[in-house]
């Protein structure tokens, strides 16, 4: 087991390297150089001289590979650069915005896990009943619904009309309800589908029939079913978390929550490249880590994978 973990972690390193290269290249995609952009942000007149000076300042006059190495070195020292706009360390800005996003994401994950599981189980137990059919309609619709539209509808209904929840800002649990619900609805469909289909497959599998034939009581059979559905459940959850983090971008913007997503969009408008770059890197690394965790979990829990 430990060997497997070490092997997987080692395999990730080239992946992380590749990801960092992509992030680095992305910044240089822009036709106008970062130096020019910095000047424009700070409303300094753009002259060739000024560009040269800024380039030297930002270290952009060195060859690309050197720039990349320097950037990696900085990363490993937790130095993510300085924001073009606010001149604050990017690391600080990210850390400041992180708790809000975590709060939002995990509230949404909780909703997805609880309701997704409940709906999935009920659909499988009462397969093809009215509840199941209704749930499937809900799943299809929620997967097709633009999350920003849902957000607007919920804001109108619960903030403006009924005035139960605030429509923006962050104070107390009340302000996280609508954003978390919106985010959850957007991603719950995949989750319910996985739970429902796994349970249906398990229900009709031979080993459950044999378990009944052997005379196991309902509780013991339930134990068998749950044991087999846990793995898909965990994997689905692990895959949803980073997607959720990415989905916070829209939600935070609509609800005015000062999290990473809003930071990123603001940075895009302001062309604050260091922030955009660090955000992208952060989410990508999160993605990779959660994928890894899901794989390790599966390896630990499914004896069929241990050859």
């Amino acid at each position: 087991m430990i060997r497997y973990i070490i092997k997987r972690v080692l395999l990730i390193i080239p992946l992380l390297l590749g990801v960092s290269i992509v992030c680095f290249i992305l910044v240089n995609l822009n036709p106008s150089s970062p130096a020019e952009v910095t000047l424009r942000i700070n409303n300094i007149t753009v002259t060739p001289q000024a560009i040269e000076e800024t380039k030297k300042e930002l270290g952009l006059d060195k060859p690309l590979v050197q720039q990349y190495v320097q950037w990696i070195k900085n990363l490993l020292n937790a130095d993510l650069g300085t924001s073009y706009e606010t001149k604050q360390p990017v690391f600080d800005e990210l850390i400041q915005a992180l708790p809000v996003t975590i709060y939002l994401s995990f509230s949404a994950i909780l909703l997805i896990a609880i309701f997704g599981f409940l709906i999935g189980v009920l659909c499988a137990v009462y397969e093809n009943s009215y509840f199941d059919k209704l749930a499937r309609v809900f799943i299809f619709t929620s997967a097709a619904m633009p999350s920003f539209w849902l957000a607007l509808l919920l804001i109108w209904l619960f903030s403006l009309k009924f005035n139960i929840f605030p429509s923006s800002g962050l104070d107390g649990i009340k302000s996280i309800v609508l954003p978390a619900v919106t985010l959850a609805v957007a991603y719950i469909s995949t989750f319910v589908r996985i739970i429902r289909n796994s349970l249906i497959q398990i229900k009709s599998s031979l080993f459950i029939t044999y378990a009944k034939a052997r005379g196991l009581n309902k509780f013991e059979i339930l134990k068998h079913k749950i044991k087999n559905v846990i793995n898909p459940f965990i994997v689905a959850l692990a895959m949803s978390i980073p997607k959720l983090f990415a989905g916070t971008v829209i939600i935070e913007n609509i609800f005015g929550l000062p999290g990473l997503g809003r930071l990123c969009v603001h940075a895009i408008f302001a062309r604050d490249y260091p922030i955009i770059q660090s955000y992208i890197l952060f989410i990508a690394i999160l993605f990779i880590i959660f994928n890894l965790l899901a794989d390790i979990w599966l390896q630990a829990r499914d004896p069929r994978l241990r050859v």
């Binding site: 031979l206 029939t209 044999y210 044991k227």
Partner: protein, 256 residues
């Protein structure tokens, strides 16, 4: 004296109105082996499932199944106390995430300590011809072969110590060596009533005292083994027997 009687059993699919078992009546003597033969789809497995109370809810049952004059249709308590099962595909019959040990122990319903149950498991694993029983107990289903798993199934049926064993094609997914050994194990069991379902006449002839032939959801013949193979009056049975004979003839001639 235990006495299993199936009276006018009919099963209909509520949705398609298809008749899956048509007026089946069978008497089974205690401590005998009954063979049920027929083509695929004739209703053999469904018959077993009905006796065990394992059929899906969209099927409509009519008729009676009694054991010692007690009605057992859907009476799960009596079924649990008197019946045990050996199924066809042993490879898929076990939960892949639990060890054999766990699954064997949970099948023994008596109030004994874990140690005693373990002893019983090992005793019967040995009886069905498995070696290195402690290793087998620690294994997961995917680590054992089809033959081994099938024997584990028989061992479980034996540990449950019930009077009636229902074996639904217990050897069809095995090679011929394993087939012979398993059929012999079943044949040598004492004090058990066995209903064995198969599409393989040669196998049944080796082990069963009486045979029932099913065709298109109906019973077309009930007789003892000797009659079926030598003196049958039923056209379909004759056809089955002669087909089997032709196949075996080819095989025998290859050996010469």
């Amino acid at each position: 004296m235990r006495y299993l009687k199936i009276e006018n059993l009919s099963i209909k699919d509520n949705k398609t109105n298809e008749i899956l078992l048509d007026d089946i009546s069978i008497d089974i003597e205690e401590n005998t082996i009954l063979g049920v033969v027929g083509e695929s789809g004739s209703g053999k497995s469904l018959l077993c499932k009905t006796i065990l109370g394992l059929i899906p809810s969209n099927l409509n049952i009519e008729g009676k199944i009694t054991l010692n004059n007690k009605d057992i249709l859907n009476n799960s308590k009596i079924i649990k106390d008197n019946f045990c099962v050996i199924l066809q595909e042993a490879i898929n019959a076990f939960n892949p995430l639990y060890t054999i040990n766990y699954q064997m122990l949970e099948s023994i319903k008596t109030k004994q300590s874990k140690k005693e149950k373990l002893k019983i498991c090992i005793k019967y694993l040995r009886k069905v011809g498995l070696k290195r029983c402690s290793k087998i107990l620690k294994s997961y289903p995917h680590e054992l072969s089809g033959g081994q798993l099938q024997r584990v199934m028989i061992a479980i049926a034996l540990t449950q110590n019930r009077k009636i064993i229902i074996a639904d094609e217990p050897t069809s997914s095995l090679d011929s060596i394993n087939q012979k050994e398993i059929i012999n194990i079943l044949k040598n069991l004492k004090d058990k009533t066995i209903i064995i379902v198969s599409h393989d006449l040669a196998l049944i002839s080796h082990i069963a005292k009486d045979i029932i032939v099913l065709k298109d959801s109906k019973v077309v013949e009930k007789a003892d083994t000797k009659t079926i193979f030598t003196n049958t009056k039923n056209e379909y049975t004759k056809f089955l027997v002669s087909t089997q004979e032709n196949l075996s003839k080819e095989f025998m001639s290859c050996l010469k």
